[in-house]
Amino acid sequence: MLKLVLDNSLVSRARDAAAKITGDLKWLFESQSSVTIERTVLRLMGIDGATEDGKPLPNVVIDHLQEKSALFSGAAIRIGNAMLKHGLSAQEVAEKVAAGELDLSAVPAAEPQKLYELLGKLSDEMLAHIRSQRENRDSFFEKYGARRQPAIYVIVATGNIYEDATQARAAAYNGADVIAVIRSTAQSLLDYVPYGATTVGFGGTYATQENFRIMRKALDEVSEELGRYISLTNYASGLCMPEIAAMGAIERLDLMLNDAMYGILFRDINPKRTLLDQYFARMINAFAGIEIQTGEDNYLTTSDAVEKAYTVTASQLLNESFALLSGVKLNKMGLGHAYEIDPEMEDSFSYELAHALLTRTLFPDAPVKYMPPTKFASGNIFKTHLMDAMFNFVGQLTNQGVQLLGMMTEAIHTPHLVDRSLAIENAEYIFKAVKNLGDNLELKPDSFVNNRANSVLSEATVFLEKVAKDGMFSAMANGEFADIRRPETGGKGLDGVFQRDENYYNPFMEKMKEELGI
């Protein structure tokens, strides 16, 4: 592969600064919890379903506890007490709360030994299930062979999960390795996860546990037919990050978009809320062996891809550091970047090559996620198809982990069946044509590509050191990231964050931490 010569002192300075920034937030992860973290605990205890008017039971129970000021020790203890007192299952407890027949704050505390025994048993059961899903995935890869690199990643976005399943099967047949089911626009701002199979949505359909199950089943079938394991991905982002991570862990999703920085900057979600949620969500992903993916491409679609290239590098280093705090392994970090430079710019390809190589060189073990041209994709589908080919060329030449294929109709509509198939044909042709080309080439030490990569790294280092000095929250409040100001107390979802009391207990977090060695 083409090799960059990076200034190693810059690399370690940048990593140190990132570790300082994320380490300074440990107080948040260790002393606070949120409504979605507690709803995740309920889901992992087996509580599912919704009321007749569509309110999910985990929301019913957490709202009830919040209303009674009875959430400070976490939801697990309250549910456990009620289970022991009334001889009910967790699900039955939730149903009684929904029916207005049970006030959880009025249930007396059970004998601690019995309570912890019960919660221990419940959490062991669910974690055993998640572990078995991880082992299932491993055995599929063993049986059918490892995922190709770059893996071919395409989206389905019909808005109807059944139609999505048909298109996903066709995409797999055409050569896709990873299928992403796009969510309905604005799901990230819902403070609940809809229940059941859905056939509606804009620009996609909802992430629900039933939809995960439907798609996983369709892909397991097609994996068997094709003798290739087809991975499934969705979005554990927005206000329900850890809940969606848990649903994905239960239903064996293989990758999850999971990036708090994205939610803060581009969805105006409160920084404290979503960084806290991400801490637990990433832990679940790590435990389930799910590859996380991050959304650095968005820095480039909203700002200039050359001027702001360093923000991608900085965010990647922060995401790596946050992921390590949650126990995510290096080979499960799908850090993001993108091919978004103005095609009218001279030598745009050399810049793209430098940026792509920088990411691969900084994160050699990571299955980096490389995003296609979108900002300069246009109604000229022929030109866009050509830009996608150049993007695929860089992807193979620099050996990216996951190539998120561009569609020639990117600027027009969600992909048609034909668009997706042509995109896969484009990628497969290029990947094959330049398969081993990189082994024959080397960069001059004083080449433009090598110098450019070092200068981006240097800008990223200076930026991270400044953020480390100011602190993450004040840097965000000052608009240091993507020129967008996000104050610590602004944005959506802060009212869902609370200070834990000294009896707080989350059996899943405890056990996952232990197993992940964090």
Binding site: A186, D268, E344
Partner: protein, 243 residues
């Protein structure tokens, strides 16, 4: 005078058209004949299927050429387009200074469920798009970009608060005509609140045209290929004319 034209392949009036579509048919002679008949029934002559690709799940992709006998009389064409001339940033700034004599306030947003800021950013952000600076860079515009997923109510409240001269709305997601619903909702709210005639209402997006904008009750619409220069000139000239 009539001016009749037909599609041009490589000979005047050969009527050649490129087609690409999928059918839920098999990738074989039967599927090919189905595609050919379909093309003929669209009114094309000599349909030629040049490529068939198996898409899986019982679908086939066809690439084809047909010759159409249809034609169009250019002398009868009428379209609604934004007719104000386009000036660059400096010219627009000078025009506002000389003809209006105060800064113009423009409030922009990508409204309702739409989370894609690429359109509004291209027009409003300092940086602009493809070498044309956005309205924030203009001296004579006070440009306020509220970003994505802004409820119509909030956009109108902000426009009222700032006594805006123009509202810019971007809609990128168009699945199931959601953009038409969102744009209609905004204009209805504006009418209900008595704001409609107090400022210019302008919409933009890849699937919007001036014609559609007028139909929805807006003052102007800007589609693909529009830049800050187009929007800025339009606002400046229209407001100057209203004085």
């Amino acid at each position: 005078m009539k001016n009749i034209v037909k599609p041009y392949g490589d000979t005047l009036n050969d009527g050649k058209v490129q087609l690409s579509f999928a059918l839920p048919t098999s990738n074989d002679a039967r599927g090919k004949e189905a595609a050919r008949i379909l093309i003929l029934s669209m009114g094309f002559e000599d349909a030629e299927i040049t490529c068939m690709r198996d898409l899986g799940e019982g679908f086939t992709h066809f690439i084809a050429y047909g010759a159409t006998s249809a034609s169009v009389d250019l002398s009868k064409i009428k379209v609604k387009i934004v007719e104000t001339p386009v000036m660059d940033m400096t010219e627009t700034d000078r025009f506002i200074e000389e003809n209006i004599g105060r800064k113009l306030t423009v409030v922009g947003a990508c409204i309702e469920s739409d989370a894609h800021t690429v359109g509004i950013d291209a027009i409003m952000n300092m940086k602009g798009y493809s070498g044309r600076f956005g309205l924030e860079r203009y001296h004579q515009f006070n440009a306020v970009n509220m970003g994505a997923q802004v409820p119509s109510e909030e956009l109108l409240a902000k426009a009222r608060e700032l006594n805006a001269d123009a509202i810019l709305v971007s809609q990128v997601v168009t699945q199931k005509n959601i953009h038409v619903q969102n744009l209609t909702r905004l204009i209805e709210l504006a009418e209900a609140e008595g704001l409609r005639d107090k400022m210019l209402f302008i919409c933009g997006g890849p699937r919007l045209s001036h014609e559609l904008a007028i139909e929805l009750g807006y003052d102007a619409g800007f589609g693909t290929g529009s830049y800050a220069t187009d929007v800025g000139s339009y606002i400046a000239i229209t407001i100057a004319n209203k004085k």
